[in-house]
Symmetry: C2
Subunit: 476 residues, 2 copies
C-alpha cells in the first residue's frame, strides 16, 4: 500500500546524497517502473510526493528535474528515539518558553503563534465588538457543556473539507486545543498507561501525558511521511499501548503531511490492536495544497479516533476556542470537560460562528496558506545562507514551523541562552522529546511576513550557532 512512499523515500535519499544535483534530470517514470518492478502510476504517485516536498519539478514533455531555483538544506534523518515507554521530563524547558512575555525587544521565533495581522481577520474583531453591544448580552451567560450550537454547526461544515461527515452533536467545543487534548487523553487513559507518540512531538501534548501520569513511547518518524508504521506495529506487539497520539497533517514540529495511504494503514493497525487514536489536526487547515488533506478521522468507522483541533493557528490563539470530535468517547470527554473548565467562554464562540457563516473563513485561510508557503521558502533560504554547513531542515507542507537539525554534538539550550541576550528566542529541540532527545535541534516560527528584522534574527541564530560550533571545536 505504501510502495510509492518507499520509492519516494529512496529517490529523496539519492537527491539528498547528491547523486542527483540541482538541475539534473531525474530517471523517467518508465525506467523507474522497470527498475523497481512497480506500476507506472506508483512511480507517478512517488514523483507527486517528491514534487509536494520540493524535491522534484516537472517540465512539460521532459520528465522530472531536481529544482534549481533554490538549494534546500538536506532533510533531517528519520528520528531514532528510545523505543521503550519513558516518564516525561523537560517541563523546565517548556515553562521557560511559555513564560516569555511578548516584547518588542525580542524576536520570538520559538512560539506557535500565527500571524494575526492580516486584514482578513478584521470581521472577527468587528463581531467581537458587536457582541458586547448586544442588548441580550450573550457573552455574559454560561454556555452549555458541549459548546454553542451555532459554532458546532459551522465546525461540522468545515470538517467536510477534511472528509468528515459529522453533526454538531458529535462535537464538543473546548478552551483551545490544549483542553481538547487533555480531555481526550483522560477519556481514554488512566495514570500509568502507555501512549505511543510520533517523535519529535508537540511539547504541549507531551507535557499533558506527563501531568496526567502517563508514559510516552516515542516512535521513529520520517520527516516526509510521518510516524513509522513498521516501528509502531512492533511497539504495539511489545507493549500494552492504550492510545496513539499523532499530528499527521502539517505536523508540529516537522511540517510533513502523512500520505493518505499511510493514514489508512495506521487506522487499520489501530483496529487490529484495538487502540484509540488521538489525531491532532490543529494545523491541518493550513496545508499549502488545496483541497486540504483528509484526516484519519474521516476514515474512522468505529469511533476510535478522537480528533482534536482549534482556531488557535488558523485564526487567533488568544480566543482559546478549540474542539474535539471524540467518537465513542463522547460522554467521557464531556465529563472531563465539565471538570476542566465547566464550559467555554461564550462570546468568542459566537464571534467565530459569525465569521465562518458570513463566508470569511475560507478567504482568510487562502491568504494565510500562501503567505506561510512564501515565508517557508524565505526562511529555508535564510537557513541555507546563514546556518552552519551541514545544517538539515524540514520541508513543511503546511503550517508555519521549521525544524532544524545541527551537528549531533550541538546543544541548542546553550544556543538559546546565548541568543536571549541578543533579543532572539527559539524553541529548543529537547522539549519535543519525552526524554530530552533532539538537543541538537530547534524549531523556528515563520508565520510573520519576512522583514529585515526577522532576517537579522535568523542570521543571529545561524551565526551564533557557527560561533558555538567553532568554540567547541577549539575546546576539543
Amino acid at each position: 500500500m505504501t510502495l510509492y512512499v518507499n520509492l519516494a523515500e529512496l529517490l529523496s535519499a539519492r537527491i539528498e546524497q547528491g547523486l542527483y544535483r540541482p538541475g539534473d534530470r531525474l530517471p523517467s517514470v518508465r525506467a523507474l517502473s522497470v527498475e523497481h518492478g512497480v506500476s507506472l502510476s506508483t512511480v507517478q504517485q512517488a514523483y507527486r510526493l517528491l514534487e509536494d516536498n520540493g524535491l522534484a519539478a516537472p517540465r512539460p514533455k521532459s520528465g522530472y528535474f531536481v529544482p534549481t531555483d533554490r538549494s534546500l538544506p538536506a532533510l533531517p534523518a528519520v528520528s531514532r528515539p528510545a523505543q521503550r515507554p519513558v516518564e516525561i521530563s523537560q517541563w523546565e524547558q517548556v515553562i521557560e518558553l511559555i513564560r516569555s512575555v511578548p516584547s518588542k525587544d525580542v524576536v520570538q521565533l520559538g512560539r506557535g503563534m500565527p500571524d494575526v495581522d492580516s486584514p482578513t481577520l478584521k470581521p472577527l474583531l468587528r463581531s467581537l465588538a458587536q457582541l458586547s453591544r448586544r442588548q441580550d448580552m450573550p457573552g455574559l451567560y454560561y454556555d452549555t457543556i458541549s459548546g454553542t450550537l451555532a459554532l458546532r454547526e459551522q465546525i461540522a461544515r468545515l470538517m467536510l473539507d477534511s472528509g468528515c461527515s459529522l453533526g454538531p452533536a458529535d462535537l464538543v467545543v473546548t478552551t483551545g486545543c490544549h483542553e481538547a487534548l487533555s480531555t481526550s487523553i483522560r477519556a481514554v487513559c488512566q495514570p500509568g498507561d502507555i501512549v505511543a507518540v510520533d517523535s519529535p512531538s508537540f511539547h504541549g501534548a507531551m507535557q499533558t501525558l506527563k501531568g496526567l501520569g502517563m508514559k510516552a513511547l516515542e516512535i521513529p518518524t520520517d520527516p516526509l511521511t510521518g510516524i513509522s508504521l513498521e516501528a509502531l506495529e512492533l511497539a504495539l506487539e511489545q507493549w500494552p499501548i492504550k492510545l496513539i497520539q499523532i499530528t499527521p497533517s502539517c505536523n508540529n514540529p516537522l511540517g510533513y503531511i502523512m500520505p493518505e495511504a499511510r493514514k489508512k494503514a495506521l487506522l487499520t493497525l489501530a483496529q487490529r490492536f484495538d487502540v484509540a487514536i488521538l489525531e491532532d489536526d490543529v494545523y491541518g487547515d493550513l496545508a499549502y495544497t488545496y483541497p486540504r488533506p483528509r484526516t484519519i478521522k474521516s476514515f474512522d468507522e468505529d469511533g476510535r479516533v478522537l480528533l482534536c483541533s482549534s482556531f488557535s493557528k488558523t485564526l487567533a490563539p488568544g480566543l482559546r476556542i478549540g474542539w474535539v470530535a471524540p467518537g465513542r468517547y463522547l460522554e467521557r470527554v464531556l465529563h472531563m470537560k465539565y471538570i476542566s473548565t465547566g464550559c467555554t467562554a461564550t462570546q468568542p464562540q459566537l464571534a467565530i460562528a459569525d465569521f465562518i457563516e458570513a463566508g470569511h473563513y475560507q478567504p482568510h485561510l487562502r491568504r494565510m496558506r500562501s503567505q506561510y508557503q512564501r515565508s517557508r521558502d524565505q526562511m529555508s533560504d535564510w537557513v541555507t545562507r546563514y546556518f552552519p554547513p551541514g545544517t538539515r531542515a524540514s520541508r513543511p507542507q503546511g503550517g508555519f514551523m521549521l525544524w532544524i537539525e545541527l551537528p549531533e554534538s550541538f546543544d541548542t539550550l546553550r544556543l538559546n541562552r546565548a541568543l536571549l541576550g541578543q533579543g532572539v528566542q527559539i524553541a529548543v529541540g529537547s522539549i519535543f522529546s519525552a526524554s530530552g532527545k533532539y538537543r541538537n535541534c530547534l524549531r523556528m516560527n515563520f508565520a510573520a511576513r519576512p522583514t529585515a528584522e526577522i532576517e537579522a534574527a535568523v542570521r543571529k541564530v545561524g551565526e551564533t550557532a557557527i560561533r558555538l560550533l567553532a568554540e567547541a571545536a577549539s575546546d576539543g
Copy 2:
C-alpha cells in the same frame, strides 16, 4: 475558641423549637453570661452571629428579640452523611442540569447564574467592545501561563478585603473557578486519594474529584456555622486524608458564613494533621455584611491553603475568568493549568482589569449584595407561603442560593421531572452529595429581581411538592 458558636447554636435551637417565638424577648446578655459561665463578650459575639443569621434583632436599651417582621422556615438539621470515603456518583443528574439550554419558556431556578442585567456591568461590556477595536489587538495573542499581569495586580488588591496580602506572582488566572478547582486538586492529590468535603457540597467540585479518581469523605455540616470540626478531627484521625475541600464563606448550597474563629480552628487542625485546604471563595465577595468575611487563606502562614475563586458569580460566568492563590503548590498548579487549557483567553482578562481599575467593581458589588439580600427575604417568604408545612430552608448570609429540605421520604428527582413540563427547573439535592444523599432537598437560585413570573414559578414548585406528598400519602 468556639464558645460563642456553641452558645449561638443552643439559642438558635431554642428559637427553632418554639421556646422563643417571633416578638419574644431573648435572655439578657448578663443572664446568659451567668447561666453558661461565659464572659459578657462571648454572649455578645453569640448574639451577633444570631443577628447575622436573622434569628435575633437588637432593640436599643431593651436587649435582643426574635424578629417579628417575617416568620422564617426552620433551618435544616446538621447533615449526617455516610462517614467513610466513597466513590462519587450523580454524574447523570449533574449533566441533566448543565445540559439545559437557557430558554424563555423555562424559569431556571437550578443553575448558579448571577443576575447580569445590572446597569453596573455596562462598563465591562464597553471595555470588551473597545478591546476589539484596539490597533494592537491584544485579545488575539497567547497570554502568559500565569495570566495577564494587569488582572493579577487587580485581584491582589481585591483580596486585601478578605485579609490576604498577596502579590501578582502568588496568583494564577484560570478559565473559571472550575479550572482553579481541578488544577488545585490535581496539584495536591493522586487518584485514589481521600478528600474531606463539607456536605452538602458544590456538585462541580464533587464531580471533579470523581473525574480525577479521588474519593470523597463527606463531613457533617451545620447550616449556620459550616463543617463540623469535631467530626472532621475524628475523620482525620481515622483516614489518610490528603485535602480538605470547603466553601466556608457564603457556602454553596447552604449560604452560611463559617465564623472566623472556626476558620482559624480548621486551619490549626489542618496544620496538626499536615493536610492541605482547598478554600472555594467564589461567593465570598457576595456576603451581605460589609466588610466581607476573612478567608482561611488570610490566616495561612505555611502555604497549605489553595484559595480558588472567580468572577463568575460577582460579574458574569460567560467570561470564564477565575484564579487560584495556590500557596506552596504554585509550580504544580502552573503545570496543571498548562496541560488543562494552555493559557486563559486574553480579552476578558484585560476587560475585567480595566473594570476594577476604573473603580467599577465595588459599586457593582454593593448593588448586587443588597439586591441578593432583598431577594433572599422575598424567596424565603414565598417558600413559607407556598411550600408544604414543615419545609426547612437555609438562611443564606451571602450569594443567591436557597437550600430547601422537604420531608425525608420526598424525592426531588420526581419533583424536577414533574416541573419540567411546567416550565420550571430546580437543582435536585442529590447532586450535592457524593453518594446521592439529600434526595429530599433542592436548591433554588434567587439572583434575579423578584417578579410575578418568578413568584409563579416558586409557587409551582411548592404546589407540585404538596401534590406529590399527598399522592404518596394516599398511596401509602
